[in-house]
Subunit: 672 residues, 2 copies
């Protein structure tokens, strides 16, 4: 690569872009870890994008109508931190850059959402950023249709590498984006032909242009170091109604000895080679030094959006009061005032009706009252709409012909759905929920972990939550999934037992601002367990006494979801034998854990034998069975310790011994 020729062809651009390269080199060298090569390769594209096109205002980092920039190849975090620093984001101080990857600083190894303003999403697990961007673009399309372009009219820009494109989730999300014709989405592919193991063709010879054309995208191939070509490609992308894919031929670690090698992908810490690269750039500043004129140029980029923001603010103020308040409410993530009353009314109705209902159906009943009052919900399913019961009558389908639609047919794409929902929630102004079979949390797991890590209030509607699914067999029967979800920090899980608990779980989930929720719902009909109406949301306590005993309390049965009915049956048997038995419903372990110790002791006093019943593995129940510090009780578990089988649900419960009889027998055995 002839660096001199590049410098001379566009001297002003070159100097500006070199600031990114120099800062990335300095920060990685200081940290002695990280990835220098990607920022050095993509600096030119970033400079043209931030310099001429991106609509952003560093002093207004939360401006709802800003463009979003997503660094999907998040290991190149120093590119983002550099640009945020240079353009004037307060949280991206020089001090931060100097302490890249250190404890207590915002400059984490990979960009972390909410650690630093301007970081729109946590990225690093490859493929997630590009897939979330599809959700950003969906949110923007929908809100533009809802409120008009004066309120919402911006773009989503993505940097993605070979890794992002190899990951399966990018296939799911990008095929969806093509079908949905998300014209405000542009992906820059960092086509540097280098991966960690060596040249990309060691593992991949995909023609990415043909691939994205097959999805229905607008595609271009350009020289990623030619600012004029980059600018022209961006203009062409803007002019096309399809999502745009721009393959940018770049050189990783441009100008460094490690250029175009796998070594260039990692941390370039040799100080002599580092200096040689800076010399080649014509960069004279010392470590972390940016010449005044270059800094001024970047600050000018940062000021470009100030006017646009002011104009937008004026337009917002010119809206009718109710309309403006609605925009503000949905971007603050506040549920509407009407929600609580509607949930209460539904609970009352459900108690009065007393029907046997599958909780997936209960969930639909809740959504039927929620969605008309909460216009920011966007529902969907990974091709299981009729099974997940996620589509309500008023939503309409979101597609290119109906941007006001609020229901998305995600296709058979659980991971892509989860990532897109993350993107929507990050964008704000919409509240996504989406369904699949609980077993396919396996597929969505990569994005679900990010929901939890970022703290975005996505709601996962996971139906068919146990062997109660029946004949579809062990491939489709969750066993270990509640354990997996409950082990995940920052995630709220709910396994409601009937319609009332389902309504309460939804109410809690829809009130979250920074926590994702999973609703584990039954395929099979369940008898109502809440027989009297209470205005209070009992699920909010995580676990509560559902039925107590008049006798001496010898046994406490704990259960969640469909097994609460099993616990009630066991109680009947035990009480019939004169054994005093309490039943505790445990819809949400995380919420129970958050209760005061006094409350927890009241629900689960020491002494009585404890039996937990759940059609899944025992692992998450041990702390409730045995107490945080042990010695609290004799304890037993009725559940699964193997995969399921294919047969009708009631047969499986019988064969696997998850019955009132079995639970009662276990209690008696422990009573001795």
């Amino acid at each position: 690569m002839d660096i001199t020729a590049l410098r001379e062809a566009h001297p002003e651009h070159w100097k500006t872009a070199a600031a990114i390269r120099a800062l990335a080199l300095d920060a990685v060298a200081a940290a002695k870890s990280g990835h220098s090569g990607m920022p050095m390769g993509m600096a030119d594209v970033a400079t043209v994008l931030f310099g001429k096109h991106l609509k952003f205002a560093p002093k207004q980092p939360h401006w709802p109508d800003r463009d979003r920039f997503i660094l999907s190849n998040g290991h190149g975090s120093m590119l983002l931190y550099s640009v945020l620093h240079l353009t004037g984001y307060e949280q991206a101080s020089l001090e931060e850059l100097k302490n890249f990857r250190q404890w207590g600083y915002r400059t984490a190894g990979h960009p972390e959402y909410e650690e630093m303003e301007g970081v729109e999403a946590t990225t690093g697990p490859l493929g997630q950023g590009i897939s979330m961007s599809v959700g950003f673009a969906i949110a923007e399309e929908h809100l533009r249709a809802r409120f008009g372009p004066k309120v919402m009219d911006h773009r989503t820009w993505v940097f993605a590498g070979d890794g992002c494109l190899m990951e399966g989730v990018s296939h799911e999300a990008c095929a969806l984006a093509g079908m949905q014709q998300l014209g405000h989405l542009t992906v820059f592919f960092d086509d540097n032909r280098i991966t960690i193991d060596g040249t990309t063709d060691l593992a991949d010879k995909t023609n990415q242009i043909e691939r994205f054309e097959a999805y229905g995208w607008h595609t271009q191939s350009i020289d990623g170091h030619d600012p004029e070509a980059i600018d022209a490609a961006i203009e062409a992308a803007k002019a096309d109604p399809r999502p745009s894919f721009i393959a940018c031929r770049t050189h990783i670690a441009l100008g460094h000895k490690a250029q175009d090698t796998a070594k260039g992908h990692g941390a370039l810490t040799d100080m002599e080679q580092l200096q040689a690269a800076k010399d080649a750039y014509g960069w004279t500043g010392g470590p972390f030094e940016v010449p005044d004129d270059v800094k001024k140029t970047w600050e000018g980029f940062g000021e470009r959006g100030t006017q646009a923001h002011a104009e937008w603010h004026e337009r917002l103020q010119a809206l009718s009061d109710s309309r403006r308040k609605e925009v503000e409410r949905i971007f603050h993530g506040e549920p509407p005032k009407a929600l609580a009353g509607r949930i209460r009314a539904l609970k009352k109705q459900a108690v009065e009706a007393g029907h046997e209902v599958a909780t997936r159906k209960s969930s639909e009943m809740v959504l039927e009252v929620v969605n008309p009052a909460m216009k920011e919900t966007i529902g969907g399913s990974a091709d299981l709409t009729g099974s997940n019961n996620t589509l309500t009558s008023d939503l309409g389908v979101f597609d290119p012909s109906n941007r006001k639609g609020r229901y998305i047919h995600y296709g058979v794409r659980e991971h892509g759905m989860a990532a897109a929902m993350n993107g929507m929630a990050l964008h704000g102004g919409v509240r996504p929920y989406g369904g699949t079979f609980m077993c396919f949390t396996d597929y969505a797991r990569g994005a679900m972990r990010l929901s939890s890590l970022m703290g975005v209030p996505v709601v996962y509607v996971m139906t068919h939550d146990s062997i109660g699914l029946g004949e579809d067999g062990p491939t489709h029967q969750p066993i270990e999934h509640m354990a997996m979800l409950r082990a995940t920090p920052g995630l709220l899980t709910f396994r409601p037992a009937d319609t009332v608990e389902t309504a309460e779980a939804w109410e809690i989930a829809l009130n979250q601002k920074s926590t994702p929720s999973v609703l584990a719902l039954s395929r099979q009909n369940l008898p109502p367990v809440r027989k009297t109406h209470s205005n209070k949301n009992l699920v909010a306590q995580g676990a509560y006494v559902l039925v107590d005993t008049d006798r001496k309390r010898e046994v406490i049965l704990m259960a969640s979801g469909s097994e609460v009915a099993v616990a009630l049956a066991a109680r009947d048997i035990l009480e019939g034998a004169g054994i005093g038995t309490r039943v505790v419903s445990v819809p949400s372990m995380e919420l129970f854990r958050q209760q005061e110790e006094r409350y927890r002791k009241r629900v689960l006093p020491s002494g009585p034998v404890r039996i937990a019943i759940e059609a899944g593995v025992r692992q998450p129940w041990d702390w409730l069975l045995l107490g945080e510090r042990g010695r609290e009780a004799k304890a037993g578990f009725v559940g699964m310790d193997r995969f399921g089988a294919s047969a009708p649900a009631e047969v499986l419960y019988e064969k696997f011994g998850i019955t009132g009889e079995a639970a009662a027998a276990k209690a008696r055995e422990l009573l001795g």
Copy 2:
């Protein structure tokens, strides 16, 4: 669709294919659940494939050189069961078909590996079958190169639907197949344009032909109901050196009222409509009745391979003794006799050297002695070769120019890698292991669950197994992953503490025939904890006393992997304060669970305070802390209850309080 025209165009073929359609209709109607439409749509392709091309012998279902048929759209299981029944597989009896989806029968809702001979893989979770097939084809290519085409020369055939193609894992695996030019792999795409939610274009408009061309596949589009076109396409696929993708335009639920509708995807149980479809087919048999001539035709197909099998058997016998025995050994999954001695020698060396080594590096040391003695291993990594330490000096890289290579650069494709490894293990004759960062078990989870469910001895080499990963930050730091893996039935997990434990873990993993293993390995260097050599494999007990006390035993510290050193540090502090302390190393909870109660009680007697230390969530430790039945001990945990952070590893351990001091303090607090 003009059924009459179809019937008349190819009357013999039609009658033969109609048997699949009739049996599928009957079985689903009897079960009142399942999927009728797919078998009805793909019956013609199946008939031509099994009738003219597939190399199989129902009486020799385990013949190593048979062709493999994978039903990736596994919900159409009745197609497979029908064909296996018709061609004469013993386990696919009429009785089985009549009890489709019932308890105690082999005809599960989705095909389950080892439930029925002829079912080559468990499928149903969409995308897995097509992705496993890539592993089947890799195994065949490699073994053909190793032993020559007289021993190994067969093909892998796959049926896949829209759902399989939408799933991300199919992207990962099929792009790899294209790069690898797996010419013996053919995929028939059931292009029926219907999904559960409705027409496919609700969610997808991908041009699949263009997509597979972008991957480098040979592609064709045909009428999936025209037997001549099907036959010609198969011939063309065979003649081409690339993997082949044949888009078969079909009609779901052909000839039924529900044809070409989403309803046709599910269970067609209306008996009147069912009869009307049979009438349209010209099918006169009652439920589960197959006319003799049709049965005879199918049995003829089943006999086609008998001769080929006999010839193969003769060729096998003609091999040299050692060569034949090697083929037999690797297909029986027996490790070579040399393995045990080599592992022992390495253990001895490691104890003598006493080096601080990261267990990922220990793993490489093990592989360096294993791979030359165990020629059936096929290693790989999802583009983290240098980090996972999975490539040893003797392997060579498997690619189109070197089929004898035993190392696969999987690319950034964790899910595809796991699925391909499942396929290789199912094929037999090879023993796959593959690496990625432990955190990306999230991505591979869908296939890892199938490893466990099918019981295939894949080895997952998961490095960077905790906050010990350091600066890459919380996106890359496993917290809940050991919980998730330990909760999964049928999976062996190992978290070894040093080189000796790593060698023992590998030895156990390589001796498995029907259990997958996960090795959780550290990024950071660890001090040796096993200071004296023992021929015995202590990891095989799951947990064991590493160091005991001469004092009265007041505290038991339990730990795994990198935290065993932390436990030893805590013991020093406690013993220094006169508190008798035992340290128990827990490399494998599953193996400890399998020990006799007597042994378990000896390792963990009641009485002493128990502290567990692991840089992950507490959930999987509770049963060890508290005892299966509670009341055993006061207990505490030192570990993680939140996501990690980006900083050097030693800083993170300090900040999150996973230190000897913290563990010692916790023990004292509980001692009161």
